[in-house]
């Protein structure tokens, strides 16, 4: 785990061989549709027999790192050996907010770590004429301003949609410090743009790619995450 060189509140996962191996599979455009949550089962022979890989996926890694950024308080318990143990409890309550559609792929990973966590959803689409991201739909927990929010969107390109979602959360009373953005692939442009506007929002990502191509897609990237995950590739 390392803070990014450029931005204090950006955390990039350690680029382990396991992580790189998983990315190699999901970036490969020739592979059949993989469920990114369960991709190790469909992957090469190296992974198929490896139970550890089956359990440890990219999204789960990101979620677990994100949870590490929540505050804790000391808590002492007594073990069955009648010995006191100094541990911690998480402070405050959380919720996930997914930016539909691609962000929804990360919900299960979050629920696997925090069973039955509350999940809000935001639908943002680009206006056909102005190309500006616009809010079309939202369903969020009523007390969201009192919660830490794990904002979910796998791809961070220009950051337009992410920042629109962040505006919605701030508008509902959340403070920047309460928001942790969980992401799979980020572009340097996106990280810069988000950080400029919301310097106190923390971002956890698995990898920072080279940049954006002429159409605004992340490169090398992997295409449209939502289409790949849900099998709606054109």
């Amino acid at each position: 785990m390392s803070a990014s060189d450029n931005h204090k509140n950006v955390y990039v996962l350690n680029q382990t061989n396991q992580l790189k191996g998983l990315f190699t599979i999901i970036r490969d455009r020739t592979k059949p549709r993989v469920s990114i949550y369960l991709d190790a089962e469909l992957s090469s022979d190296t992974y198929s027999g490896n139970d550890y890989a089956v359990n440890d996926t990219i999204i789960r890694l990101i979620v677990e790192e994100g949870l590490n950024h929540l505050p804790v308080s000391p808590a002492q318990v007594t073990t069955a050996q009648n010995v006191k143990f100094d541990g911690v409890v998480f402070d405050g309550r959380i919720c996930g907010v997914s930016i539909m559609r691609a962000g929804e792929s990360m919900e299960q990973g979050l629920r696997d770590c925090c069973r039955s966590v509350r999940i809000g959803k935001i639908l943002i689409q680009r206006d056909e004429e102005s190309q500006e991201p616009v809010l079309h739909y939202k369903k969020l927990p009523e007390d969201i301003a009192d919660r830490y929010v794990l904002l979910l969107d796998p791809m961070l390109a220009t950051g337009g949609s992410a920042m629109c979602a962040m505006d919605v959360l701030i508008g509902m009373g959340c403070k920047q410090e309460q928001i942790i953005f969980l992401n799979v692939i980020a572009s340097p442009e996106g990280l810069y743009n988000v950080h400029q506007r919301f310097p106190k929002i923390r971002i956890v990502t698995a990898v920072v790619d080279e940049g954006l191509d002429s159409k605004g897609y992340i490169t090398p990237g992997l295409g449209d995450f939502g289409d790949i995950y849900f099998g709606t590739k054109a």
Partner: protein
């Protein structure tokens, strides 16, 4: 084995076992907490999906077993996909994926205007080639049927034959079931329970409240 309901051929209700009714009791109870609601709904969804998988066309196949014998078995003969009606329908996607690994999932967002009760399509992304698939349309609650009817019409416009649509549902209202049956007689509907009526806000009664809010915890 489910039974046909209300004298309608393509409407199947899950067998009302003691276990199923005890699960339905939990999700219907307004005092059930968020965590228990999610866990219990997931179990019922699994039961619905397992019944739904019985509607996939199968073909015979001969396999060799490890003990030197052969077995004349079955394997799916058609592609399937799920289409969830956002938001509540999305709760059913994982249940479908567990039964049929890597199934493509389409999504449609239909919003109901709470004053006029009319429905509008806000978002639609469907798998390519959907006109050749068996489509499991998913929405846990079926009230008036207006949202579902709009979603079904979109599928028909995309070329999906009516007989290729299987609508999966936890609780439906008899009024909604009849509305859908009248318009789409060849569509199959599989539900865990048919409740008798709707209240003034057109929610199913007794029903289970707002499924989406309770499943995702947005209340």
């Amino acid at each position: 084995m489910p039974h046909s309901a209300l004298g309608m051929e393509n409407v199947l209700v899950l067998r009302q076992t003691l276990y199923l009714i005890s699960l339905m009791t939990i999700i219907r109870d307004k005092n059930t907490d968020h965590s228990a609601f999610v866990r219990t709904s997931n179990i019922i969804i699994t039961m619905l999906v397992q019944e739904a998988m019985n509607h996939v066309s199968m073909k015979r196949c001969l396999i060799a077993s490890g003990s030197g014998g052969t077995y004349l078995g079955l394997k799916p003969a058609q592609e399937i996909c799920g289409v969830s009606i956002l938001r509540a329908g999305e709760s059913m996607e994982h249940g479908l994926n567990s039964a049929f690994h890597s199934v493509p999932i389409g999504k449609m967002l239909v919003q109901r205007n709470e004053s006029t009760f009319e429905s509008k399509l806000l978002f639609c992304k469907l798998p390519k080639g959907i006109e050749t698939f068996l489509v499991f349309l998913m929405d846990p609650l079926l009230a008036t049927g207006n949202s579902s009817i709009l979603a079904i019409q979109v599928l028909l416009e995309k070329g999906v034959p009516e007989e290729n649509i299987v609508f999966l549902n936890l609780i439906s209202c008899s009024q909604g079931v009849e509305n859908i049956r009248k318009q789409f007689p060849r569509l199959r509907l599989i539900t865990a329970a048919i409740d008798p009526e709707l209240n003034d806000q057109r929610y199913v009664v007794p029903g289970c409240g707002d499924f989406g809010d309770r499943y995702f915890g947005t209340y």
